[in-house]
Amino acid sequence: MLEAINLTKAYDNLLVLDGASFKISKNQICGLLGPNGSGKTTIIKLINDLIQPTSGQILFFDQKLSLKDKSNIAYLPEKSALNMGQFVLGAIKMYQDFFIDFNPEHAKHILNLFEVPLTKRLAQLSKGQRGKVQLALTLGRKVDLYILDEPLDGMDPASRDLIMKIVIKYKKQDSTVIISTHQITDIESYLDYVILLKKGQILESSTAKALEKAHNMSLSAYFKEVYKYDEEII
């Protein structure tokens, strides 16, 4: 469904993504995992056409990613991309107007589950609540690819599990979800596929089960193993 071929991104002389290649099938929950600065957000920005690759390309359903594919991708940015002066209901109305695939009832129901008031302005909500509004709007859309950039950031532990359950329930059937995070313990049980990144390079990409089997440990334990710091430098 989504394929990256030798993706490279450099800013001046700084290489932030170095020849990343991966293939994600449909109906998968894919974890884009790595510490800060590993290149997760760069990959997400490239898929969303927010930046241009220095080299390489992205294929979506075996075709070069094009403008019309944007209607088939729902993106949850790391920080709320909504106008803070807007009311929650106003934001729902706006999404309904922009996207024909948007289901406002789903969005409202998700917000009710999170107990987010619909009649308040976004500026009056907490950071976590704003993130939940953005998530509800993203999952209100029925598309083939969801890209969630750090959806668990700033969320309380109780909400994190609920978020993952909501993602599974409200995403379009057979759609793929890419979740970028460094909070692996909260999501490891939901992941079908994993892409591990370090310093702009892909360390490994395979199914979660294959990775656990190959290294004989859980995903979170392997994550800690891969990204462990050097005790001697402390």
């Binding site: 800013y11 920005k45 969303n48 056409d49 927010l50 930046i51 241009q52 403008l67 019309k68 594919d69 944007k70 209607s71 991708i73 993106y75 940015p77 790391e78 920080k79 709320s80 991309a81 909504l82 106008n83 002066g85 706006m94 107007d97 922009f98």
Partner: protein, 259 residues
């Protein structure tokens, strides 16, 4: 999709500016009412004077704020957090930019229409006197029309130029506002160079340009209108160039950051 983006821009502008314009409208109505009452009792004249001044100040602030909010909106929706929504819409960068230019210009035109209507209402602008000018001095009247038209076009161009300047500044990852300022300096220099070229062209067309009799309105109008029209063509050209610069920067250079 362009229509929707345009519509939501206007909805945002309306939400942002409604109170300042409603407030100004209210004070303007008070000014008109007090003016009528002052014919009955002179005490109302004092209230009229105060409301009249506040009304003019409100109109000017409203205009300035409307102009400012065009660029504030561009900054938020193209360069900052809301850009993560705008740039992921299934629209090309050129169409996004064009929508922003059109919505900004629509707001500017609406703000001008409202402001001028209110100024006419409180007799700051006398339409009849302006129309009478056509009989008194048709050259001056035509010159005024040409100046108003060129002012409107210049505002349209300035929206594109400021968009390009913001896009240029924010295509760097540091000292963004400094680079915005640098862009304005470059624009100013190129404008001055074009003005000199304009003067040269006019001198070629009319070698007696510097010796025009300033007591002859026809000769003055002919000399000035040539300069004004060529300047207008140059400005439109600069606007088009700036549109393509902004589009290029938006496509290839802008790197959105959170926060």
């Amino acid at each position: 999709m362009m229509k929707k983006l345009y519509k939501w821009d206007l909805i945002h502008y309306f939400g942002q500016l409604k109170w300042i314009f409603l407030g100004t409208l209210f004070v303007t109505i008070l000014s008109v009412v007090f003016d009528m009452l002052s014919e009955i009792n002179f005490v109302w004249a004092m209230f009229h004077q105060t409301a009249f001044i506040i009304s003019i100040v409100g109109i000017l602030i409203g205009l300035a704020y409307a102009f400012f909010s065009i660029f504030q909106r561009y900054y938020h929706t193209i360069l900052k957090d809301e850009a993560y929504f705008t740039h992921t819409l299934p629209l090309s960068k050129g169409k996004i930019l064009l929508t922003k230019v059109l919505s900004g210009f629509t707001l500017f035109l609406l703000a001008i229409i409202v402001a001028v209507s209110l100024l006419i209402w409180i007799d700051v602008i006398n339409v009849q006197q302006f129309l009478d000018l056509r009989q008194l001095d048709s050259n001056l009247f035509n010159m005024s029309i040409l100046s108003i038209a060129s002012m409107v076009i210049m505002f349209f161009v300035s929206i594109v130029v400021i968009y390009a300047a913001l896009s240029f500044g924010f295509s760097f990852n540091k000292r963004e506002w400094l680079y915005v300022f640098v862009y304005f300096i470059l624009y100013y220099v190129s404008n001055q160079v074009l003005s000199m070229i304009n003067f040269g062209i006019n001198l070629l067309i009319n070698p007696n340009l510097l010796a025009v009799d300033d007591t002859d309105p026809t000769a003055m109008f002919s000399a000035l209108s040539g300069i004004l029209i060529i300047q207008l063509i140059f400005s439109i050209g600069l606007g088009v160039v700036n549109y393509f610069i902004a589009r290029y920067l938006m496509t290839h250079k802008i790197n959105l950051k959170n926060g």
